[in-house]
């Protein structure tokens, strides 16, 4: 009896110490453990591949043969001397502008309309979002049919109003326009909903004050809605930039060959990357294109950042 009490008295403090220690480790290290999956995965499948792309680009590197000799910047020189690279760069920008500019303008208008006191709000909102669930590959197949050169729906309709058919696949600008339509089809409604959310966050007093001052609906839209929406607009623009400059799915399935057209009419940089890597099996050159495209995206991103900063300082001045 006495001995057992004594034992308990002896053991308890040590046990508490141990469990306290474990508890402290738990508190200290659990947070890092919980966030570690993201960082580990990002390091392995995000950061490492991006950096290693640089290493691959400095070598002769074959899909089947693997790593070859170190050749310095030769892959970059080779790529930069290809006419196709510059055509692909031009096309990528062209498709990007043809898709993002009208898309954001139309999305703004749709958002403004959805922001009125509509009957059946949810119905209209769901309606504009429907295209978002159609995969880009499917969108491309449907639209490349509608934009058929000979019997396509678009040309048939143009024929009704007396406009001669457009060569949607052989004319570079026409093909880029067609591909931009696919992007717009899928993303305009999605972006309209983001802008709508931004609009609803604008304090209603602004509109009341403006109305009292005699501003009409159009004036209110341009003097209140658009400036107040700048942060949301920038978010939409940046997302559209990062995705748009890497465009692959839609142009890839615009015809059955998938190489960007016989004369590279709608060849984009990512298709060019794919063709070099998995068509010509030249990983060194594909990696060089990947790095160049990365630089392009960073460059455009910095331009965006500059705009963001300017707008932020404008807001600072106002308040």
């Amino acid at each position: 009896m006495t001995t057992s009490t004594l034992r308990v008295a002896q053991r308890t403090p040590r046990r508490i110490a141990l469990s306290q220690k474990l508890g402290r480790w738990d508190i200290r290290f659990s947070p890092y453990l919980y966030i570690s999956p993201f960082f580990l995965l990002f390091a392995v499948v995000g950061l490492f591949p991006l950096l290693y792309t640089g290493w691959v680009s400095l070598h002769a590197w074959d899909l089947i043969g693997g790593q070859g000799a170190f050749i310095g910047a030769d892959n970059f020189f080779w790529v930069l001397q290809q006419q196709k690279f510059w055509i692909a760069l031009r096309n990528t920008f062209s498709i990007f502008l043809l898709s993002s500019v009208p898309q954001i303008i139309i999305a703004l208008v749709i958002a403004a309309v959805l922001d009125t006191n509509l009957r059946g709000k949810t119905f209209w909102r769901m309606g504009v979002l429907l295209p978002y669930i159609v995969m880009p590959v499917a969108v491309s197949l449907i639209f490349s049919n509608m934009y058929g050169d000979k019997y396509g729906l678009v040309n048939t309709l143009l024929g009704y109003v007396g406009i001669p058919g457009i060569q949607w696949h052989s004319n570079p600008l026409a093909s880029q326009f067609a591909i931009a339509t696919m992007v717009n089809f899928r993303w305009t409604g999605y972006n309209a909903l983001i802008l709508l959310a931004g609009m609803q966050a604008i304090p209603r007093d602004y509109y009341e004050a403006a109305t009292i001052d005699g501003a009409g609906a159009l004036r209110r839209f341009f003097s209140i809605t658009v400036p107040q929406l700048r942060p949301t607009l920038i978010f939409v623009i940046i997302t559209a930039t990062i995705g748009g400059l890497q465009i692959f799915d839609e142009p890839r399935l615009f015809d059955q060959y998938g190489t960007g057209g016989a004369n590279s009419q709608w060849l984009t940089l990512t298709i060019y990357l794919y063709n070099l890597g998995w068509g010509q099996l030249n990983f060194g050159r594909a990696a060089a294109v990947a790095w160049l495209l990365f630089l392009v995206i960073v460059l455009i991103g910095l331009v965006n950042l500059g705009i963001t900063r300017r707008i932020a300082s404008n807001e600072g001045r106002k308040s």
Binding site: S30, P49, V134, M135, P136, V137, I194
Partner: protein, 288 residues
């Protein structure tokens, strides 16, 4: 005051200030543009190979959709059932994993104290702007080295957790879960993981469901990386659509029937959860 304003009548004042019919006409046009391409693919997909060349084609669907769909399903190189199954597996596993790991990390960022928290969170957000797609060459080299090319693992593993998901859950949990609740759990003697499991996770359920939905759609529609790393004998749906196009580019009725078949599951999802999708995009926009 705001509710009764003539400009922004809301809530109870529904009868005041209805928009003009022009607004509805405009929305009807937008709606038409949203639905028409799908209707068009049904129109062509239910005809035969001559429908597209017929200058007097009908605007009503023909009767060949089942036959065209059967041609898609029975085509051996398209592997329709296998690609459907693969898409279901990949999208489900990726969604479940993204939700779990993002909630775990989001909970840590929102409710736990640790050193360098702010910096790490900023890092996570910054990575959403990194075009990781451009790392495909080394990623493919690595997958080849592991012998993973052509297997679903090559598509699943790189997508197991996403920066967007972590950010999304952090935002939600920091405002939805009161600190007192977490502390109460700790005082009651729950260890860190128990607190997360019994208090953090249930409170995050609405945002987790939303995240699952968007991850599912993104994964389902993803083409570039699966197209590179998988092959026609073990594809996901978008990859098998590319095969279908290569095989049948002459007969668009079969290609577009296949397009519809591949889109149907997400149309069903849209009918069930379209409301949540709308809400999710709008919530994300306000927070982002």
């Amino acid at each position: 005051m705001t509710a009764s304003s003539p400009l922004r009548p809301r809530g109870r004042f529904l009868t005041i200030g209805r928009p003009s019919p022009i607004v509805y006409a405009f929305l009807a046009v937008v709606m038409f543009a949203s639905v028409f391409p799908l209707y068009w693919s049904f129109l062509i997909g239910s005809g035969d190979s001559s429908t597209i060349n017929d200058p007097n084609m009908s605007w009503w669907p023909g009767g060949n959709f089942i036959a065209n769909a059967a041609s898609v399903i029975n085509n051996e190189s398209v592997n329709f059932w296998k690609s459907l199954g693969n898409s279901v597996i990949v999208s489900t596993v990726v969604s479940a994993s993204v939700v779990f790991f993002s909630t775990l990390a989001g909970y840590a960022f929102a409710k736990l104290r640790f050193r360098a928290k702010r910096g790490l969170l900023v890092f996570v957000i910054a990575t959403t702007a990194v075009p990781i797609q451009l790392g495909v060459v080394p990623l493919f080299i690595a997958m080849s080295a592991f012998g993973w090319t052509g297997t679903l693992g090559a598509v699943i593993v790189p997508a197991l957790v996403s920066a967007f998901g972590v950010f999304w859950m952090t935002q939600y949990i920091s405002q939805a879960l009161p600190d007192e609740l977490v502390e109460a759990g700790r005082i009651d003697g729950a260890n860190m993981f128990q607190t997360f499991w019994y208090i953090g996770l249930p409170s995050a359920r609405p945002a987790a469901a939303m995240l699952a939905l968007f991850t599912f759609i993104t994964t389902w529609t993803n083409f570039f990386w699966p197209f590179i790393v998988l092959n026609a004998s073990n594809p996901t749906l978008p990859v098998s659509l590319a095969t279908l196009q290569a095989n049948y580019f002459i007969d668009y009725s079969i290609v577009l029937a296949g397009v519809l078949l591949a889109t149907l599951p997400l149309i069903a999802l849209f009918v069930l959860a379209g409301r949540q999708l709308v809400a999710g995009i709008m919530q994300g926009a306000v927070k982002g």
